[in-house]
Amino acid sequence: MNTTLPPTTGPQPEAPRAAPRPAFTHDWRRIARMGSVAAFGQVFIALSNMPVRLDERLIVKPVLSLGYLVLLILPFAAGYRQGHQIKRENMPVCAPGPNEVVGGFLCGLITGGGLSLLAVLVTHFDLREPLVNWSPVLLDLLSFSNEMWFAVVIWLAIGAGMGAAGGVLRLLGPKSHRVVVTMALAVAGAAVLESLVVDVAEGLGLEPLTDRLYAPRGGVAWPSALGLAAVSGLLAVLGRGRFRQARVRHAQMEGAQRTRANLGLIIATAAVLIVLPLFAGKLTNELLANVGLFVLLALGLNVVVGLAGILDLGYVAFFAVGSYTAAVLTAATSPKIAPEMPWLVALIVVVIITGLVGLFIGAPVIRMRGDYLAIVTLGFGEIIRLLFLSDWLSGWFGGSQGITKIPGAGIFGITEVSGTDPRRVFYLVLAFCVVAIYISWRLERSRLGRAWMAVREDETVAEAMGINTVNVKLLAFVVGAVLGSFSGAIFAAKVGSVFPASFLILVSIVILVVVIFGGMGNIIGVIAGSAVLIGVLGGPKQPGLLAEFSEFKLLIYGALLIWMMLARPEGLIPSVRRTRELRQQEMAQDAWLRGQVDDDDAGGADGPRPAVQP
């Protein structure tokens, strides 16, 4: 929702077009390089056993399963990417032509060659030992239950075909491009969101519709896939890019108009979030509740990392302290003291204790900077977990047995929120998310928020400008800790038991990935990051929409993170500031090219503001 366009980059003038390149003149090394990278990736995916495990999940029944999709996507992407031309200022861009298709074809051919080679190798040599995931099932899958030579030929053909298809995508004008992408996204979206859609449709009494859309054992039935593609394509044609226009218009709005538009969007989102769970079943509500828990955690970490720039790798500590404190205070089975407080009263104590732990951990950590700080926070995250696990404190926290039979969260005696009714959990989480969003939003625009930014920009100078950096950073730590403890307290009431094993270092990493992936420093980005990563792929222990991915979750997290760092380091929905930080030079250059430069010889800012476009 925040501007996707940084303020100084307006619409770029269309680069002049040159004639298409001849079909058989290529940068051969580039093709070879991209093809082999993709081939390596494809072999890696095959040997990670992903295709076999994901073959169960059908995208379009009976044509395409998720397992094949992950194999097919690479030659396609390589073929598409191969046709990419670097745009240089005032240099003509060659119009796409047969060159792109031939290039994509060759690129895909090389990619397919990887799997073909693999098929030959595994048939002639015994590679079971190094390649532990190699199985007859995989060979069967790769060769479509035929002989080895068939696999060799078919993968070369498939690779070349997908690569050429990627090249063809380049040929399409912006309009057809949009239509094709919309159609693909609609089918993929329908397949990925299957359980969600079925669940909600059941609540709304729309089963006949979903029965028609989805095949009995999962996957979009192929006639409906075609129908869906047709309908979405038609909508894209009729829409004529209005959606994108609206987004650009929103990004360019200023002042009161923008506030009004934002308010409208917020109300619409809130309405959906309040009404949707009423019609959704357990599964969806459980999913939404999990996403909400991670939104809370990510918002807290966002204050620490995104606003104050303190790289905290042990954030799970606060989640753990929040959970354990809530558990000890509310559970009757708590080993040492069991005050059996009502949840809301316990929450106050939880906030105080987590805040104190934040101070306690923060005080030594905050004096360090950069890498050292990250390492030390990593250590503290583990220390907290090991303390809960230790024999020394097992009299208090139950050691590895943890604390069980934690009662649900009673809200003023009106309802009791526990894991058995995920809908109530979701509403509770939603309420706390609203609180957390408000806190982050207000603080960011205050004296404290500015001080955080200054510390992030240049700590030495911030100190020299009269900011007590130690206090300011400690406050960031405490605010982050308190937001994380909300999540912890709800988690304890929801799951009904806490164990040290729930607070592995992995949780810290996942939350950090969510923040980085979504867009550091931006509230909306952080929420989007949680929805995509936790909702679709799943959390450290929570299944997502693509539950089949659970085994490969970390692999995919890693791949996504690397891709994100390369392609869009500012995150999915970046904050303006973060974009500036990462793209300072480019933006300064753009401004210079548009004559927007701050030039002293031009007599300062006396004249009118230079035009945005030449």
Binding site: T460, G466, Q584, D598, D600, R609
Partner: protein
């Protein structure tokens, strides 16, 4: 000779206490003495230039005063209070602001925010005020903003208007230097330490900034210490010039005296250069 001159200066200014005084200040970096028993007094409303060849300890002096480096010996007294052992932010809130030789703005914050955030030590609204959105909070925010705009207005039209909301990195070099000064002004100091304020500027810009330094004293009442290599600027602005070499004060006085001091000429040009 130095003592006599300092005494004369004090007499001319009445029986004023110096605003800032360093007493036998020393800074060691391992075996290197960056500052060696330096005595220095700055009086209210005074513009003092600190000059000297490269490595003379000028910036170290600033760093020692603002507690960025630790002094190994001696004392720094500001308004009768010792600054030793204070954190840099406490030094700033006690009334000493500085700029940096290699411009160090908060590059990704807007021009206005750079000046707003520098009022941190003069404002006091806490997180709770912001969360509850109290009247006091809104009032203070408005004041911070207004003061920031006022300070930016001091530099004419260069930093106001649309430029206020642009990130600091889009500013030209000269404007970045100006914004650094604006930021120092925003901390509401009594004494401003300017570290090579005209370095890298063209002659027109230096002349303008020279005038600005005078106005900083006359209109805002700051005492100013300037480190500067541009002798034209030094002659123009300084009430008094202090010459450092190898961490030792080798001369002090008005520009004409210092410029003809054989020791100064030797420090800059080498032994024997002062002889006809």
């Amino acid at each position: 000779m130095t003592d006599m001159q300092a005494a004369a200066g004090a007499a001319a200014a009445g029986v004023r206490q110096p605003l800032l005084e360093t007493r036998r200040l020393s800074v060691d970096f391992g075996g290197l003495k960056a500052l060696d028993d330096l005595d220095l007094e700055i009086y209210e409303g005074e513009i003092v230039s600190v000059i000297g060849p490269n490595g003379a300890g000028k910036t170290t002096l600033f760093n020692a005063i603002t507690a960025t480096v630790e002094s190994s010996d001696g004392d720094i007294v500001f308004e009768g209070q010792s600054l030793l052992g204070l954190d840099p932010n406490r030094v700033t809130s006690s009334g000493i602001a500085r700029t940096f030789q290699n411009v160090r703005l908060f590059a990704n914050m807007s021009v206005l925010e750079n000046v707003m955030v520098s009022q941190h030590c003069r404002t006091k609204q806490h997180a709770f005020g912001a969360l509850l959105y109290t009247k006091a909070f809104r009032q203070e925010e408005a004041e911070i903003r207004q003061r920031a705009e006022e300070i930016l207005g001091f530099f004419g039209t260069r930093l106001v208007g649309y430029r206020m909301d642009q990130p600091a990195f889009t500013l030209s070099y000269a404007n970045r230097r100006r914004l650094e000064i604006a930021r120092a002004m925003a901390t509401q100091p009594k004494l401003i330490l300017l570290d090579e304020p005209v370095a890298g500027m063209n002659p027109v810009e230096s002349a303008e900034l020279t005038g600005l330094i005078g106005r900083l004293r006359d209109e805002w009442g700051f005492a100013i210490v300037v480190i500067e290599h541009d002798m034209g600027v030094v002659r123009e602005v300084s009430d008094r010039v202090v010459v450092l070499d190898h961490g030792v004060k080798i001369a002090e006085g008005d520009y004409a005296d210092v410029a003809n001091d054989p020791q100064v000429i030797e420090a800059y040009l080498g032994k024997g250069a002062g002889d006809p």
